[in-house]
């Protein structure tokens, strides 16, 4: 079997516009959750979120379609994170042996577009339609990277980019391609999404103290915090990466996946789907639970997810492995969270530092695990897993390992 290594990473998150800014903020336990700035949230049931700080892209020469995509936040985040990952890797992506897989929520028309549709009854032009299609991020990545080894979009809610990483692993292993650009992007901080998720009762309503709102595994948790961002990784077949003298950041050891087959919004209380996903990932990585040194939990800060995930972790890995949820600092990046948190897990291995769970004041007895509250912990580890569990019951677990 061909082994797969990671040679490049890129991130745009509420805590930073690149990997080092985000990582440094995470290990310092910084907060990326504030009152919403993008629009006036007065009157909304939830008035805070984890927004990516505004930034401008340099002028780049691209096609009219890519220009339209780059005018959207999704496009900007994708471009910046992919560019960071490719530059770090040093790989030549212009090849039919390099594929792309992106986890992304499917097209959500812009509010301007909806208003136009309602008022003018005029359909958008073709480029505008394509810029809002699920394939928009891959259209952009194909153009800027030149990768021609096949591309796809996975849209499985919060599990999307975890599955995109898994898809990249499988495609390289079976020899379809030699490298993959994988990751995810999502932008949920807009009025319709904030209103929609608020009315579903899924969000924390701590409007008076946003910095304390995301508190995974805490007794006082009351829902998740909407976030946004992008995370991308360059995966390569190990021998080819070595041959070109790449700086190998770590190994992508395994991936596992399952369905809860339970309810649309609820996780099964016994954590069976989560456990099945983690066990499948360990099997795939040929590792035992004892070898896992860190778990980056899905840890959304909802009552149900955190207890269900705890039971899943206990079943699959046990109670002694250090666990944290970085959503406590940067909110829930939804379709992007799987890739971003895989990168965080990789950074934990590379730096020998496990990021903390912020706001974990009083551990819920139903979430009793080996938590890392408040402060990062220095521990040298060889293997880490990253969980991502989605609305609808899809679960994904990625295993990353130290590069020897």
């Amino acid at each position: 079997m061909r082994d797969v290594v990671i040679t490049g990473i890129g991130m745009v998150t509420p805590l930073g516009l690149n990997v080092s800014q985000t990582w440094n903020s995470l290990i310092e336990g910084k907060n990326g959750i504030h009152r919403i700035q993008r629009f006036d949230p007065a009157g909304y049931p939830v008035r805070f979120a984890a927004e990516v700080p505004d930034f401008a892209l340099e002028d780049i020469s691209v096609s009219p379609l890519a220009t339209k995509i780059l005018q959207q936040l999704k496009g900007k985040f994708t471009y910046r994170a992919v560019r960071e990952a490719i530059q770090m890797s040093g790989i030549t992506t212009k090849s039919t042996r390099v594929g792309i897989c992106v986890g992304s929520e499917a097209a959500r028309p812009s509010l301007d577009h909806l208003a136009e549709q309602l008022n003018v009854q005029a359909p958008p032009d073709l480029d505008e339609m394509r810029s809002m299609a699920p394939s928009a991020p891959i259209d952009l990545i194909e153009e800027v990277s030149g990768a021609l080894g096949g591309s796809s979009v996975i849209s499985t809610a919060c599990t999307s980019s975890s599955q995109a990483v898994g898809e990249g692993l499988y495609r390289i292993r079976r020899g379809e391609v030699d490298a993959m650009i994988v990751g995810g992007v999502d932008v949920l901080v807009d009025p319709l999404m904030v209103m929609g998720f608020s009315l579903l009762g899924a969000l924390s309503t701590r409007n008076e103290a946003p910095e304390n709102a995301s508190r995974p595994f805490d007794l006082e948790r009351d829902g998740f915090v909407l976030g946004e961002g992008a995370g991308f990784l360059i995966l390569e077949e190990q021998e080819m990466a070595k041959l070109r003298g790449a700086d190998i950041l770590g190994k992508l050891s395994g991936f596992g996946c399952s369905s809860n087959a339970y309810r649309i919004t609820d996780s099964p209380p016994d954590g069976r789907g989560a456990a099945q996903s983690m066990m499948a990932a360990l099997r795939d990585a040929r590792l035992t639970p004892e070898q896992i040194g860190y778990i980056n939990a899905h840890g959304t800060s909802t009552k149900m997810n955190d207890t269900s995930e705890t039971r899943g972790i206990i079943k699959a890995i046990g109670k002694d492995t250090p666990v944290s949820s970085t959503k406590s600092m940067m909110g829930h990046l939804v379709a992007a969270c799987g890739a971003v948190e895989t990168i965080v897990s990789l950074q934990a291995i590379r730096n020998g530092v496990l990021p903390p769970t912020r706001n974990l004041e009083s551990i819920d007895p139903d979430c009793s695990l080996h938590h890392i509250p408040h402060h990062a912990r220095e521990v040298k580890i060889d293997h880490a897993i990253s969980n991502a569990f989605g609305f609808g019951g899809s679960n994904g677990t990625v295993v990353v390992s130290k590069w020897q």
């Binding site: 007065a42 959500r108 208003a115 996975i154 849209s155 898809e167 209103m195 998720f197 579903l200 087959a261």
Partner: protein
């Protein structure tokens, strides 16, 4: 160990029986007609599945409000494809189109949230709030189609939801094949569902010049089998590509993510051996 195509489930404007579906295409039977849901369009022609009743399949009837047309098509086709199958060891890969349209449920809210033709977020928080359909995100997330099938048919294995155009059908099929081939499961339910039977979706489709709009659900059950029997369709990796003949547009119109898998159904019934999507499909003769 071989991988065989065990069963096909359909929900199409040409019916749900495979032989009937193939027969109608061979005879170029068109079911394209003026559709009442598209009556406001300049060109209301299209084809749709008339009976989308899923009441007898779903466990909780009150959840029916969470199903878009595409989700109903998917569940009907998937249900016709599977019998008593192992829950843990079955993978599920689904292809869907764009985010399923909410079929107008949010329009009142959006109209109330405009000032002088421009969307105003403060009006959404005010007048629009009570008109916002609270279940909208759950109806329209693309992976809800996968979730409904997984929950109703109790499928717990590896899964993914591919979003985009026609190519997603191939991606879902390939994922199921490789999940079995690489030993991660012993069977896989793979398929696609899409519907353009709503004003917004049909209008966008007209814009791309691919008309008329249609809808369909199509699923395949792939299984690992030690010794294929005569008549089994054995699926193998193969780089040769078969040119699909696009009969469907004339008969039903365009069914998006389901289109290529419907073409595959037709080809499988009318040809002995075909190669498609990096796979070959060969009937076991002895």
């Amino acid at each position: 160990m071989a991988i065989v195509l065990h069963k096909i489930g359909l929900a199409t404007p040409l019916g749900h029986d495979c032989d009937d579906f193939v027969n109608k295409i061979e005879h170029q039977t068109s079911v394209i007609t003026s559709l009442e849901p598209l009556a406001l369009l300049a060109c209301p022609q299209g084809s749709m599945v008339q009976d989308l009743s899923i009441r007898s399949i779903i466990k909780k009837r009150k959840e029916i409000k969470l199903y878009t047309r595409a989700a109903k098509l998917a569940l009907l086709a998937a249900y016709r494809c599977v019998g008593q199958i192992s829950k843990l060891d079955t993978a599920l890969f689904v292809a869907v189109g764009r985010e399923p349209p909410d079929e107008g449920s949010a329009e009142k809210c959006l109209i109330a949230s405009q000032r002088d033709g421009i969307f105003d977020e403060s009006l959404l928080a005010d007048k629009g709030r009570s008109l916002y359909p609270p279940l909208l995100p759950l109806r329209t997330l693309p992976n809800m189609i996968l979730a409904h099938i997984s929950i109703q048919l109790e499928i717990m294995g590896e899964n993914a939801c591919w979003a985009g155009g026609e190519e997603t059908g191939i991606q879902a099929f390939q994922s199921g094949f490789w999940a079995i081939k690489e030993g991660r499961c012993t069977q896989a339910l793979v398929g696609a569902a899409d519907s353009f039977i709503s004003l917004g979706a049909a209008r966008d489709l007209h814009r791309t010049q691919i008309i008329p709009p249609s809808e369909a659900g199509v699923f395949f059950l792939l299984k690992e089998k030690e010794t294929p029997e005569i008549g089994d369709i054995v699926v193998r990796p193969n780089q040769k590509e078969h040119e699909m003949r696009h009969y469907l547009l004339d008969c039903i119109g365009y069914a998006g993510a389901a289109q290529q898998l419907l073409e595959l159904v037709f080809s499988l019934h009318t040809q002995e051996n075909i190669s498609w999507g990096g796979l070959s499909f060969q009937k076991q003769l002895q």
